[in-house]
Symmetry: C2
Subunit: 640 residues, 2 copies
């Protein structure tokens, strides 16, 4: 801004030309010209200071100055703020100009900002039209990136109902509170009138990965009439059921429905007809990733359950799979029925009959994944969730299941009742299932190894890593390990094909971390399941924590949501202990992390410091992880 009085000239400008064309609303050239016209001396002085500052900071600077009575005063000078894309562009340009090295460019990009290159966006033509026709009705804080459209609902119950009816919705509240959690989860986006970037709505939305515009003060919400108006825009009334759209990367609230499309980067990656030249963003993305891979020492894998997801992750640069959840497969077409049969089985024999039906289906799943992976390490986790999750809880579904299985609804209800748990998180799940029903482990191992053989026969390479979940006691792992190795020998014998594989443990309860030395004597790799490790180490159910955790973060009890960023003092203590002890027992043991923290930059830095071999995260997190891992390496070397 400039305030040009009689003999006072006040201004603030961004100095570095590279930023100008990408930083919205910066009027630097105009301001500078204006100054030149008024005061040639001060102008020359400023240009001189500019060169010195640039030489010193090697970054885009935000300079505030005033000229009084013809004398130039420097008021303030700081590194200029910029949008995500601008920050990437500036960094790349400065490397091209040889002002900074790629290492430094990498450190200047916030990994979270990469997200903005990857999240869905509104179709730009549509958005332009919306802006033109004044459909951008308000602006709030960009509290959860991405783009979302849906019908407006004004309370959590309605959000759940609308979602169940198959419609997308946007939850609009003055502010959110713990009672709204289920509604927030059911909505595509959240819009609030009150609250900042660390308000309940903002924290929960980011945790859930929802689009969020918070603290949009111009909203006039009338819960009784189920409508909202916009202060200063008498022409707008949004009623319950009307469509609105939220741009969580800019904070814009748009009336009507806008189509969302994948980001440019994703479009290039997915659409084989597009090339790099169709997207400057993709070009930048690729350059950053190339630099990042040069510096990082930490491996980056992905958590993926289907060949399609795996393909995306590989195109993002994933080097392996850190977690394939086999249970998601059981929900696939034709698979839930034998799974339920298995659960209803009363004897080992009945169970084995049902498992025999599941075997070819699981084998096919694994074949699909192994084919895409073609020799990259692929960690497959044995069945993990409590069995009741596979049974239907609605009466109509139970009736259907009873017909299908030739049994009674009462029999199904009785089994559901007997499987009911007060705290399923801490219940009959993970390797406890395989310990009590070893035949389940045997079936899964057989599916994995038969798929291995088949894919080898198709001319590809396979590197399966079988992961035993929820290990708390070494004897649990020993029991499972024995079954898996026995099946592997059988499959090799039957097929005459030799293959290599690994057996390891998922460390997700404190006792597993505490006794890692013993566990590592049997485990060829350990992978930290930091979601559950956080739940158990902190005594904190993720699903239930919405009623108090946001307040805890607001009060600073936890600096960040421990489900987003690893709580180093608590969970990190257990990880550190486990790493130290495991390496004592088996020097070359492979150590990784497959909790959602594997995609969080701060947690990735922690994993680097711990000396893990890899992090594993969702496909869309892979680029972020690659950048964060490179930053961790660069910072680490700087220290040394």
């Amino acid at each position: 801004d400039s305030a040009n009085g009689d003999n006072v000239f006040y201004g603030e400008f961004l100095m570095n030309a590279q930023g100008e064309d990408v930083v919205a609303g910066i009027r630097t050239p105009k301001l500078i010209k204006e100054l030149q016209a008024i005061d040639e001396d001060s102008y020359a002085q400023l240009l001189d200071i500019r060169v010195k500052l640039e030489d010193h900071y090697r970054d885009m600077m935000d300079v505030e100055f005033t000229i009084e009575e013809g004398r130039l005063f420097m008021l303030q000078c700081r590194v200029g703020k910029r949008t995500a894309i601008a920050s990437i562009k500036i960094a790349i340009d400065m490397v091209a100009e040889k002002r900074i090295k790629p290492k430094e460019a990498l450190l200047r990009i916030d990994p979270e900002q990469l997200n903005q290159l990857l999240r869905p966006i509104f179709d730009s033509d549509e958005k332009k039209k919306a802006i033109k026709s004044a459909k951008v009705i308000a602006k709030g804080l960009a509290a959860g990136p991405g783009a979302a459209s849906g019908v407006v609902v004004f309370n959590a119950q309605d959000a759940v109902r609308v979602k169940n009816e198959g419609q997308d919705c946007i939850l609009v509240r003055v502010e959110t509170s713990p009672e709204d959690i289920k509604g927030m989860d059911a909505s595509e986006g959240i819009l609030t009138a009150r609250g900042g970037m660390t308000s309940h709505a903002a924290l929960v939305a980011r945790q859930m990965g929802k689009v969020c515009v918070a603290g949009c003060g111009k909203l006039l919400i009338n819960y009784k009439k189920r409508e909202m108006r916009i202060d200063g825009r008498e022409d707008v009334i949004v009623k319950e059921g009307d469509y609105i759209s939220l741009d969580g990367s800019t904070g814009e609230v748009i009336s009507g429905k806008l189509e969302t499309i994948p980001s440019e980067v994703i479009q290039v990656l997915v659409d084989k007809t597009m090339t790099e030249d169709d997207s400057p963003n993709y070009k930048m993305f690729k350059k950053i990733m190339k630099w990042a891979d040069k510096y990082r020492t930490l491996g980056v894998r992905t958590n993926a359950d289907e060949p399609r997801q795996v393909e995306i992750a590989l195109s993002f640069g994933a080097e392996g799979i850190g977690l394939t959840r086999t249970e998601h497969m059981f929900f696939g077409e034709g698979k839930i029925s034998p799974m339920r049969e298995m659960i209803l089985a009363k004897t080992k024999e009945e169970r084995e009959i049902a498992l025999a039906k599941l075997l070819p289906l699981q084998r096919k799943d694994f074949e699909g994944i192994f084919s895409v992976m073609d020799g990259r390490p692929t960690t497959i986790r044995l069945i993990d969730p409590p069995l009741h999750e596979f049974l239907p809880h609605q009466v109509s579904e139970q009736e259907e299941m009873a017909r299908d299985m030739n049994t009674t609804v009462d029999a199904i209800k009785a089994r559901i009742e007997s499987l009911h748990e007060f705290n399923p998180m801490l219940g009959f799940r993970g390797c406890r299932l395989g310990t009590i029903y070893p035949e389940i482990t045997a079936m899964q191992a057989r599916a994995i190894f038969e798929a291995t053989v088949n894919v080898i026969l198709s001319g590809k390479k396979v590197r399966p890593e079988v992961m035993v979940p929820l290990v708390g006691h070494v004897m649990e792992l020993e029991g499972q390990d024995k079954i898996i190795r026995q099946v592997a020998r059988e499959v090799m014998g039957e097929t005459g094909i030799e293959f290599k594989y690994k057996v390891g443990a998922m460390i997700e309860i404190p006792r597993g971390a505490i006794t890692a030395k013993k566990i590592a004597k049997t485990a060829e790799f350990l992978s930290f399941g930091t979601n559950d490790l956080t739940q158990t180490a902190l005594g904190l159910s993720r699903d239930d924590s919405g009623s108090f955790l946001p307040t805890y973060v607001e009060k600073g009890i936890y600096a960040r949501d421990p489900f987003q960023t690893i709580d180093e003092e608590g969970v990190g203590f257990l990880m550190k202990h486990a790493v130290k002890k495991a390496r004592k027992a088996r020097k070359k043991i492979k150590l990784g992390i497959c909790g959602e923290h594997g995609g969080d930059p701060q947690s990735i830095e922690f994993c680097h410091r711990l000396g893990l071999n890899y992090v594993s995260c969702s496909p869309f997190g892979v680029p972020i992880a690659r950048l964060a891992a490179s930053q961790a390496s660069i910072r680490d070397k700087k220290k040394k």
Copy 2:
């Protein structure tokens, strides 16, 4: 036994006369006389050997010998087995005879055996009658001590139903399985036809503190006809609904209902008209306790919530209260209603109105306890369970509550729904309640301190210790500590009475143990809540573990049920770490344990080794803890 052939005399006898009259079925005097008559030389030899053996072992010996062709052969010699009461009597007699020292006598008594002096028993006249009239219909393994009567049910669902109808029942099964857990919990006793001392039934029964007779092979159970017969007793048919009685200390199954009465020791303690001379058992009990107190260094407190329980515990020798659960008080008469009002409150103001109603009721509770304690340290834990536990879950009760509170059933249901948690163990409970609703903490602190003042004014001493539950982060404790100290100052100011008190933390989640050093900077004491610490460290819900934990113990994955005996490798690691770190931060910090492990001898020994100041257990566990603590001290000194 003696087998007296032509020239072979085979015998086995218990050597120590002190044991004879208490060891059932031993025919030593007769056997010895018989031998004397047949073979004077061998008899003399045996007497000589006896003296030498006694001198050497200083215990009752079980000697097996044979005399062939007039020559005495010693076959085997071992320390004789004995019943609980016999073991105590023998130990005391040997001290009286100066054969052993009290220290050694203490080591010879299994603390668990003391239980048999304390558990309910059948009225001995009634039992004699039952034995006479051949009502003892079968005998199995004494798998869970105590005595129980109830109607027979043959499956778990019926047990739950009968219990809900207000009747005591005995669950009879061929064997039990995880599906029977709820039925086992609903029954007074469990009787099985198959399975040993470590069968599912036996393990679960002992864990639940239920009477159990297991592996009673003569039972012929017919589930279809809902009846059982006894092999070899054609006169007996027990049908569903018939009464039977189980003596879990002897394994006897008795037809019909027998009255249970408190043990002799309890009778003397409770019945003021009885004296020591009315019970030889009590006399022995008292002597053992006196010796135990001389040697133990570990303090013994009790977990008690009501003045009546506190009185029993004090009569058993408790030196303080380690845990008073304030929430049990909320269920008392007239208290649940304002509690529910508090939970339904929509604003802080409404909540404070309800809390004001609770204040005098809580104060009265504390006055009762402080009066009985008269200056002994009294740890009071602030409210701990999730709020939904205080709301009714049956529709009829909800309707009643709606009428009482002048609100709608829907409003109550909505609040229950909003408080619903997937994993309440890990949910909105413990100090999380007081952190979000500081006014609850303030009310409880005020009730404690006003009661303190009132009891001081009545001429007694009071030593309140306010315990903050579920601390995982020091800032949680700091926040609660600040409120408590503020209220204390207020109460002192208002009443002009000065009093001393302590504020401490309950360590029951791994993060609390891990960060004990920081926590101990604020906490004046720490108490390990090992029930929850076991649940979180092992990722194991106690309520749900019945489906696999007994199998784990059978397989030896856990040597003992970790909810009975502290898992030293996992939970113990965290405790050890916490003790070390806490003492670093505050040298004189008082450290205790108030989980149920505080009554388990093996865990008590572990606590002694850890250097805790006290253990706290149920009133009936206090004598066991005193003995176990003395043994730990004696063994410890032996080692040094």
